[in-house]
Amino acid sequence: MTVSTAPDLARETRTHELSAPDVPWVLIVWNDPVNLMSYVSYVFQTYFAYSEAKAAELMMQVHTNGRSAVAHGGKEKMEADAAAMHGYGLWATVQKDDMNTGS
């Protein structure tokens, strides 16, 4: 990703986060050098209703680690989320959660 703007990390808002650790599928968003960091943040905030801070954290994971597990859930839900990410132009895949996908 390119072009960074400093996220306002101090401002914590409602987070909508699935916390169940044992759900079987995971949605991975992969880094690519074209998508803007601001745009990835916007997608995470609006599509997943993540807070600005949470969206920034996941976006930085994508940027620095090359990928991030941005959502967990059932296979069909993860596939629907992946299709939505493709609609936005983000590079996303689904896979079984093998506990090895956190970053």
Binding site: P33, S38, Y39, E79, A83, G87, V94
Partner: protein, 196 residues
């Protein structure tokens, strides 16, 4: 170059010069051409209704494949089959959604001063992103170093071959999208504040 998109009391406003609008129209039309499905919607009304398309295959053009990626890493026969099955179920509607966003943005270009609601702004961000994905692929932007190299080109007098011209167009569209998304993020922040 003036700031094209701004966030203010009226929401997101945009202002583009005639030459910029013409360039964007051409780019949107090019991407729509790429995305138009090769075959008409399925003759079976139920299949057409759910967007099922048994004729799809993985795009051979890497730029088109970037717009329509596999849903799983296709590393073995099982994952390759799963990716294809997902493509049969979803690729047609993905193409249609992308074409819809590009057409919507194109319509907004009819006026030189734009006022965009949330939905229109989202369509614009998606349309500009798809343009950039295709240009990025044509320019072989594979990593941050490539992106930095392309970003160096800012002067239109340097456009002396197809690649440098494409790089300048890519930088223009990137600048446009960055400004738009910053305006959209300001809008989100404002609404977050209003909600308390």
């Amino acid at each position: 170059m003036a700031k094209a998109f701004k966030y203010g009391r009226k929401g997101i406003t945009g202002q583009l010069e005639q030459a910029e609008r013409d360039l964007l129209r051409n780019l949107f039309a090019d991407i729509i051409d790429m995305l138009e499905p090769a075959s008409a919607a399925h003759a079976d009304p139920l299949a057409a209704l759910i967007g099922l398309d048994m004729d799809v295959s993985v795009p051979t053009d890497p730029a088109l494949k970037r717009l329509l990626p596999d849903v799983v890493k296709a590393v073995d026969p099982a994952s390759t089959a799963m990716a294809l099955e997902f493509r049969q179920l979803t690729e047609r509607s993905l193409r249609e959604d992308k074409i819809g966003a590009l057409r919507a943005a194109d319509l907004d270009l009819d006026s030189d001063k734009m006022v965009l609601n949330d939905e229109q702004a989202k369509h614009w961000a998606m349309a500009l992103n798809d343009v950039r994905l295709v240009l990025g692929e044509r320019l072989s932007i594979r990593g941050e170093a490539d992106a930095d190299r392309i970003h160096q080109l800012q002067d239109w007098s340097q456009a002396d071959d197809v690649d440098s011209y494409l790089a300048l167009v890519y930088n223009f569209v990137s600048w446009l999208q960055e400004g738009l998304v910053q305006a959209m993020l300001l809008g989100l922040k404002d609404r977050g504040r209003a909600r308390g």
